[in-house]
Symmetry: C2
Subunit: 250 residues, 2 copies
Amino acid sequence: MHTVESVFETLPDFADLDGGVTRQVASFSRIAEVRGETMIFQQGSAPDALRYLVGGKAALTQRASDGTRVIIDLALPVSGLVVASVLAGTPYLMTAEALTAAAVLEIAAEPLRRLMATTPSLATAMLRRVSLDSRSATSQVLDLKLRTAAQRLGCYLLALAREPAGNGADFDLPVPKNVLAGQLGCRFENLSRAFALLREVGVETHGSKITLHDIASLRVYAVPSDVGGAEPRRPGPSEAARAFSRAFKL
Amino acid sequence: MHTVESVFETLPDFADLDGGVTRQVASFSRIAEVRGETMIFQQGSAPDALRYLVGGKAALTQRASDGTRVIIDLALPVSGLVVASVLAGTPYLMTAEALTAAAVLEIAAEPLRRLMATTPSLATAMLRRVSLDSRSATSQVLDLKLRTAAQRLGCYLLALAREPAGNGADFDLPVPKNVLAGQLGCRFENLSRAFALLREVGVETHGSKITLHDIASLRVYAVPSDVGGAEPRRPGPSEAARAFSRAFKL
């Protein structure tokens, strides 16, 4: 069972704040329990609350040009849902839908903005969240512009092969292939083509089971970058937040 | 000739700030005059200043996987250069290069962060800038994931045809085609292919001259979205800033 208080303790974005500030934010927050396959918010609507997924799974989707709904990304706890739109006061660019029963922390936007306007530590904490999201989105733009779908898939697989045994690795894909296609930014049929291309550099697949036979060749092919691209899309709060804290001497 | 004082008067990001705060920021700012074809900052380096291009033209570039330098975007005055990296204290994701003689406002990062930590109006102003940048980057991600290169080109041309005469429009491309390819996220040869595909929906090209013969058909083909996609990449400060000001009751 999630309570507002227990949830704030687990939110990295609020970890450096004074207890008094967090309690003020908690006073206009609530936990919404959402059933599976329910919409959390809709593309084009005006954000009324800053939302964090704190339990369950959600998908961020958008209508494609042919009218079909496309999964753009998967959200897992704990993650802010399109935070920049809330803070900018601009309409949501995407729809968020609970895929399973989910718990969502809702921080009312109006009093949050008022409190930020007088509390620099809170404004700075939100600035950190949005700066990291912005950097992550920019890194995705670069990835989409500079790499082919097969290279993006290669970088994704290399990032999953955390502790390779020598030049090889075995693991399961953590998401279904239709979600993976959305995350990588290609159509489902192009994902199959990308997997076929990667066979040449030792990538073997059986359903969701992946074997990398030649990590060195895959690396040459996919060219993960040292800055941005190869890391998982959402930089873990730890490393990125540490960099920010260093910068702000928090 | 640019002076720090005259430049701050033209910066939308600082327009709503108290004169005293702006003067403090100006006290640790300077104008750098940069020659053409000079690097402003380099991908991977740690940002030491928040930079705004205030005169001339600059390109944001990144090394592609084959080692070549690819133009990702063009910067025109007045625009912040990768603001999120500076505020997050994380390495630059891109290189900025002056294409022509350029003037760059440099706000030292260290004292800026210190001042933000005690001045909520400044933190909120920076939060606005980064939220709008983040939204713009997310909108680009969606565009790259959901549209083909030909559809992206179509949306770009529709956005340029501001005042169509009936169902047609005539105009010049505002940037060279290699820059356009980078902005749209396709290779130069794919841009030619995209223009060829658009011939079917009445797009005629002679060098940089564009004629749209059938805007209605182009619109059906490219499907510009009501939220995000079809608008020019960088939302003008006016409209987006107004939304933010409304949200924050500034």
